[in-house]
């Protein structure tokens, strides 16, 4: 696994030091880490760019000596808070990997529900230690970089890591998914009578869902100029119930700041 030892990489003749990288998961499905591993065509190149010292999905060795930490998952238990604080102390660069780490992800859906009911539904009568809320990493530590998506898109992770290694600035796309969707020449889902959060969701997934004729659920969180008020009007005009909008906006946690306001407008909350 450790293909890195010995050989020094150069870029345009300038020696590049391979950073020591560790991967961790808190409460998550590990899907984001799998995304990184599943591209066999580029995996070896990816691994030769960095020195992985910790990656439970792929190797058994463990080390606390790393510069870059990728943390997947949201924080739902107190022991996870301790682990996260320790990772923060060790890492020079802490990267939130995927929507759970960035926004709480699908896990934060339980935040609005009765914690006893949730625990009973999921774990039955066995006792588990779980906090009432699933929270993003940012609630506990400072994050240096977020990589959005549920799951992340491996091409984007590869590009970000390459730029980190060669010291190139990292920019997230600020515009919404519609830009990529139009470039891919998809038929707009609203034309065929389906809802889509593409107009307000940050691009970068290459309009993953609309490419397969499924509306966007906003997994990458809001675009820089997300106009949620107008989105609400559009959904209503196109005949979609406000709950359809709220369900989507709520699914991954990225739109949390808008939800409370929207819920206030609802007639009665069950």
């Amino acid at each position: 696994m450790d293909s890195s030892v010995g050989r020094l990489k150069t870029y345009l003749g300038v020696p590049i030091s391979k950073p020591k990288v560790a991967f961790f998961e808190l409460t998550s499905c590990e899907g984001c880490q799998l995304q990184i591993l599943n591209n066999e065509a580029t995996l070896l190149e990816f691994l030769s760019l960095i020195q992985i010292v910790n990656f439970r999905e792929a190797m058994s060795e463990r080390s606390d000596d790393y510069e870059i930490a990728f943390v997947e998952g949201s924080v739902t238990r107190s022991d996870e808070v301790d682990r996260l604080l320790k990772i923060r102390r060790n890492a020079k660069t802490l990267i939130a990997l995927g929507s759970c780490a960035c926004f709480g992800g699908v896990n934060q859906l339980k935040n609005r529900l009765d914690p006893y009911w949730v625990s009973k539904e999921v774990y039955g009568n066995s006792s588990v230690e779980t906090n009432n809320k699933a929270k993003p990493l940012e609630a506990f530590v400072q994050i240096d970089l977020m990589i959005y998506g549920c799951p992340v898109r491996k091409e984007e992770v590869e590009k970000i890591v390459t730029n980190l290694v060669i010291g190139k600035e990292i920019h997230h796309l600020k515009y919404p998914v519609c830009m990529e969707c139009k470039a891919n020449e998809n038929i707009c889902l609203f034309d065929v009578g389906e809802p889509c959060l593409g107009p307000i969701t940050r691009a970068g997934c290459d309009s993953w869902c609309p490419n397969s004729r499924a509306g966007c659920w906003g997994c990458r969180g809001p675009a820089d100029a997300a106009n949620v008020d107008e989105m609400k009007k559009i959904m209503a005009e196109k005949g979609f119930d406000e709950n359809i909008l709220i369900d989507r906006l709520e699914c991954f946690g990225g739109f949390a700041p808008y939800i409370e306001e929207l819920r206030k407008g609802l007639p009665d909350e069950a």
Binding site: E45, S48, K159, K174, Y175, K182, D191, N227, E230
Partner: protein, 347 residues
């Protein structure tokens, strides 16, 4: 200009002749919307029977065939301290666009002025535009079409052949030698007096079908006077800053450049991506300052580029009135409504 008439059935032969040594692009039905109306797109085709010459408007114009949404401008191979650059203009054989409406032909003519007529022509565009063969076709004005207001309802140049449907045959306008030579191989005939009369009647019937108009009288001046108008804020509040209007516009040409280094650090790519002035970072500069942070100022400048700045530079608007942007805008922002609302401020 030469005129001929061509039997309807012979259009398939014209297609066949052109397809022998060219890549054919034509309007095809790409799906149905939720009301059961057909949706159209320009696609590369090989079979004449795939195409739909009676199409309404394609959702996305044919500009993608000479100005792709994403285009590799150069690739680099890095070896040690050195690197080599390879430029590919990304075209091997010319395209024939078979069935282009007048508005889209006029849009190409406008793009030519900017991208070919300047001191530094755009080589990626020029390579695809050069030798392109265009077969124009007449159309039926749709409820969103205002090409007539923009002077783009007829094409005077920018095509090789233009076909107008006269029932059982087409009236053919021929502009190029190449077109003349192709048509010589088919059975075309000289139009009779009655064909001329029918042509004039058909065109005037079309002119009566426009249902939306844009008053462009003194528009550059009115736009100047209404620069501070609060009407822009109203539209800005609606705008999603999504860039769809530019993406579906046959005359928008703005782009950004992305440079990325390959994972093995021995390759790099420079990619051109079509952009839009409505996107939040369109006017952001190094250091992070944004000249147009508010959505209303971005939307306003879109209109100022198309209906003021371009008119001052080229004496025509950078809009052919195809109506695509308004049809595609989920927020319902349409050119006729925006311009009418600005004009209203003056009354």
């Amino acid at each position: 200009m030469l005129f001929r008439v061509l039997r309807k059935e012979a259009v398939a032969d014209l297609f066949g002749l052109l397809a022998e040594s060219n890549r054919m692009v034509a309007p095809v039905q790409s799906g149905l919307d939720c009301l059961g109306s057909p949706l159209y797109a320009f696609k590369e085709v090989t079979d004449y029977y795939e195409i739909s010459l009676t199409y309404t408007t394609t959702k996305i114009p044919a500009k993608k065939f000479f100005m792709p949404f994403r285009e590799t401008m150069a690739t680099f191979i890095v070896a040690g301290k050195d690197w080599t650059k390879k430029i590919d203009l990304n075209i091997d054989r010319p395209f024939v666009v078979f069935g282009m409406h007048a508005c889209d032909i006029n849009a190409l003519n406008k793009l030519d002025k900017v991208l070919l007529g300047n001191f530094y022509p755009m080589p990626y565009y020029a390579a695809k535009r050069k030798n392109m063969f265009i077969v124009g076709i007449d159309c039926v004005p749709q409820p969103y079409c205002f090409c007539r207001s923009m002077g783009a309802d007829t094409a005077l140049h920018g095509f090789d052949i233009f076909l107008t449907d006269l029932g059982d045959h087409y009236f053919v306008e021929i502009l190029s030698d190449a077109a003349f030579n192709f048509l010589r191989q088919l059975s075309v005939s000289e139009p009779a007096e009655s064909d001329h009369a029918l042509y004039v009647k058909t065109v005037s019937a079309k002119n009566n079908k426009f249902s939306v108009r844009v008053d462009t009288t003194d528009l550059t001046k009115i736009l100047d006077m209404e620069f501070q108008s609060e009407v822009w804020e109203k539209w800005g509040k609606q705008c999603l800053s999504c860039g769809t209007c530019a993406n579906v516009c046959p005359t928008c040409y703005c782009y950004g450049v992305d440079e990325s280094v390959g994972l093995d650090l021995s390759r790099a790519t420079k990619t051109k991506l079509l952009y839009s002035c409505n996107l939040i970072d369109f006017a952001e500069i190094a250091g992070g300052h944004n000249f147009r942070p508010e959505s209303h100022s971005r939307l306003k400048y879109r209109y100022y580029h198309k209906h003021r700045g371009f008119v001052e530079a080229y004496e025509e608007a950078l809009c052919v009135g195809c109506g695509r942007c308004g049809e595609a805008c989920l927020a319902g922002i349409t050119v006729p409504e925006v311009i009418a609302s600005v004009r209203d401020q003056e009354s």
